[in-house]
Amino acid sequence: MADTVSATRLSAWGGGGSPFAISSNKLGMWLFLVSDTLTFSALVIAYSYVRISTENWPRPFEGSSIFLATVMTFCLLSSSLTMVMAVESAKKARVKRTVGWLLATISGGLLFIILHTNEWLGLLHEGVTPFGNPWDVPLFGATFFTLTGLHMTHVTGGVIYLGTIAWGFAKGKFSAEDVEISGLYWHFVDLVWMFIFPMVYLLSCTL
């Protein structure tokens, strides 16, 4: 009898340990990412919905903007690589190297923001605004700017987040796990772009 009680206590689901074997901070980030996945999937589905149901959907992305979007994808993918390097260095307690890799990640994010803002300004200059465009399909602007805008907000937030982590890790205020958790967020932002890039750009390119 006593044996069964202690066995239940010892099992992870009986309260004997952490069921996920990770800290509550990391679990919290994972759960936030789950909710963020649903937010983004709602926006991607909204974009696809209005795109399919509109016959004359505008396709403004030609050669040069597809090339730029590919470069932006490259920026995010490479910043993900520098991010894992930062996490590895943080685990090995190499502070300078960690901060260096984090700064590389931040510059990848900043380059993405600059290229994306430039693309937005070009579109706005052509008269493609969130409320209207030359092709008279206002829903294009509405869904395009909402989807890419929320993603850009995430990248901007991520740059600030990583900056704070780099500063705090150099000062010894944050642990290697804090760096790893910020990495989870950064990879997620990269991951969302892996859907926006084909859905918005590649499927709309004019040959």
Partner: protein
């Protein structure tokens, strides 16, 4: 140097990164091929799912975590798929109505 717990080789990450780049370039080439929209959409989404799997498994370390954490993430995926199956047929219906 002796490997610390939870650390992995740089080569693993470089391999995953180059895999992601190859898949991205394949997607761009695909976009310029004259395929039917249905086939193109299927291929692009499959490639994106493959890239997501690589990022989540290796960059986000999910492969090295407990199975219970992976299982916790499944419901969100199921909800996304259900949403797709509800909204795609409906958007086609709307297209027919507008014609």
């Amino acid at each position: 140097m002796e490997a610390l717990p939870g650390t992995h080789s740089t080569r693993l990450y470089l391999t995953v990164w180059s895999g992601l780049l190859v898949l991205t370039i394949a997607e761009v080439i695909l976009a310029y091929m004259a395929l039917s929209v249905g086939l193109m959409l299927t291929l692009l989404i499959s490639f994106s799912l493959l890239k997501t799997a690589l990022i989540v498994a290796y960059f986000m370390h999910l492969r090295f975590e407990k199975l219970s954490l992976t299982l916790t993430l499944i419901p969100a995926l199921v909800i996304c798929i259900i949403l797709l199956f509800i909204f795609f047929p409906d958007s086609l219906r709307l297209l027919e109505l507008r014609r």
